[in-house]
């Protein structure tokens, strides 16, 4: 596909979109895994909220 004389700008815009969206997805996934790990570690040590008892 011929994107014309400004192809570099179009490709750069889509690359920026891919980077920013990937960073967001990466952030929520890594954050989730880290939180689950930390909670499991505390619960394994016997920590429980009153509502969970």
């Amino acid at each position: 596909m011929d994107l014309g004389p400004h192809a570099g700008f179009i490709v750069a815009a889509y690359a920026a979109a891919a980077i920013i969206v990937s960073a967001l997805v990466f952030w929520v996934v890594i954050d989730y895994r880290g939180l689950e790990r930390s909670i499991a570690k505390l619960e394994a040590r016997g920590a429980k909220r009153r509502s969970d008892r």
Binding site: A13, L35, I39, A47
Partner: protein, 244 residues
């Protein structure tokens, strides 16, 4: 399901387990379809091939404004109705809204260089979107500056509501002041002024961005609920260790 039922974090976490993958899949399909149609559509008579940038620039601008509006409504929920998930929703939306706002600014700059001859001009629309981005950063910084989630929620809610004045400024800046940026071409009283061959992929792509935003927002809300659970567990564990 009434909103009050979602006040129970356990019920909310069960619901998002189904909703997040469904919304992510929907986003993938819609954005893919929108972009395929968008790249098959004819080039614009003025912008030429640069019109392809519209399929990511315009939806990211809409999401940046909608996310801030959601934060303002959630802030009212925090301050007025004291809904337990309101501040969670507001806090989770801020980094996502900021990212889409940044994407809007970056893609706008990349479109501006070949079309206007400059990456940046201090135009009312561009400047007000930059202010929106700075407001997002301010709200995020405020959340991080205060340890107690309850106090942070109130302070962030006030800042968010004060900053909401900028949302109509962004929207109407192209009408109120002389602007290099083009005026509204989709949401107009006399109907869209874009040719249907370009409008249809834009709307499909925008629907995909909306699904993507909600998938990310629900995931970030789930993380925030877990973060608070972790904080409570940490405090209880420390208290128990001290009592022994």
């Amino acid at each position: 399901m009434p909103l009050s039922e979602l006040a129970n974090p356990h019920r909310f976490l069960r619901l998002v387990r189904v909703l997040i993958p469904a919304l992510a899949m929907l986003a993938l399909v819609l954005i893919g379809l929108g972009l395929v149609q968008g790249f098959r559509a004819p080039a614009d008579y003025q912008q030429g091939e640069m019109v392809r940038v519209m399929y990511i620039h315009v939806p990211s601008a809409w999401i940046a404004l909608a996310a801030y509006t959601l934060m303002a409504i959630a802030s009212l929920g925090t301050l007025v109705w004291r809904h337990p998930l309101a501040d969670v929703a507001a806090k989770a939306a801020a980094p996502i809204g900021a990212a889409f706002c940044l994407l809007c600014l970056v893609t706008g700059a990349l479109w501006g260089r070949p079309m206007w001859g400059a990456y940046w001009v201090w135009d009312p629309r561009l400047t007000s979107v930059l202010v929106l981005f700075l407001l997002y950063l301010g709200v995020i910084a405020l959340w991080r500056a205060i340890d107690d989630p309850g106090r942070a929620a109130k302070a962030a809610a006030i800042l968010t509501l004060v900053g909401f004045i900028n949302v109509p400024i962004v929207k109407f800046s192209v009408e109120w002041w002389s602007s290099l940026h083009q005026g509204a071409s989709v949401f107009r009283l006399d109907g869209p002024s874009i040719h249907p061959s370009l409008l249809q992929p834009l709307l499909i792509s925008a629907a995909g961005f909306v699904a993507l935003f909600f998938a990310l927002h629900l995931a970030a809300m789930r993380n925030e609920i877990l973060r608070r659970r972790l904080r409570t567990l940490g405090i209880l564990a420390a208290a128990e260790a001290e009592a022994r």
